[in-house]
Symmetry: C2
Subunit: 142 residues, 2 copies
């Protein structure tokens, strides 16, 4: 198959980047990747660059970008001014900071409750806490 061109079938690509073939077809439908060409029989054939692109996509996901954002990043193509990229990143940083604050607060709330819960003979401190919590704060988590 694909004798000596360096091209790979969907399954080979899938194995390399550790995603399901169905996911790759889904990415293609969403406009995130495109096979280099098709074989006579209609098989998708990808070159090594596709691997790079897919790793880029997975890395983008790993840092919390939605596929739509990643698509935008892919369309930029390195030359383009990175203003837009900067804005995307800055936005993510704001979100992340908010999450960090909320998670830390949440952590200590739960940890305190757990401490009291472990000590108490009857009744549950955590449940009691939850009952009172909504009065104090709007969101602890996002």
């Amino acid at each position: 198959m694909a004798k000596h061109t360096g091209l790979m079938t969907i399954g080979q690509v899938a194995q390399q980047v550790e995603v399901a073939s169905s996911t790759l077809r889904f990415y293609e439908r969403e406009g995130l990747i495109r096979p280099t060409k098709r074989s006579k029989a209609g098989y998708r054939l990808f070159d090594r660059e596709a691997l790079e692109q897919l790793r880029f996509i997975r890395a983008g996901q790993a840092i919390g970008f939605a596929l739509n954002d990643i698509k935008a990043l892919l369309l930029l193509d390195e030359e383009t001014s990175c203003k837009r990229v900067q804005r995307l990143i800055e936005q993510r940083l704001v979100e992340i900071d908010a999450k960090l604050v909320n998670l830390k607060r949440l952590r200590s709330t739960l940890n305190d409750a757990l401490g009291r819960c472990r000590k108490s003979k009857r009744g549950c401190a955590v449940v009691a806490d939850l009952k009172g919590m909504s009065k104090k704060r709007k969101t602890l988590y996002s």
Copy 2:
């Protein structure tokens, strides 16, 4: 309506706890709440306790519990041993700690990239970073 019983219609409850009426019907279907009674015409009527219960639900959501977990907590009812609650909380704490670690790492990655991105005249440091990232780490984010 509901002249001098202290009962409220779904819309009144919805307004008090700031959720949509449809959400309350959804919660009922899911077994999270139940109206005290129905009016002659079939209108749901709730007492003040329902407000408490709903605030409990929202507080639970705010700290990252799924509705199913919250349902379990509601069924416990304060008397019950809080072993199960403890396990739920401990589990959440583990998740939270993992998230904190990932978010912090992510924050500094993005922040570094952003700094370099702001300085560079051409090409985008962030995009370049993303291209290299997948080789270094599995997950930065959850």
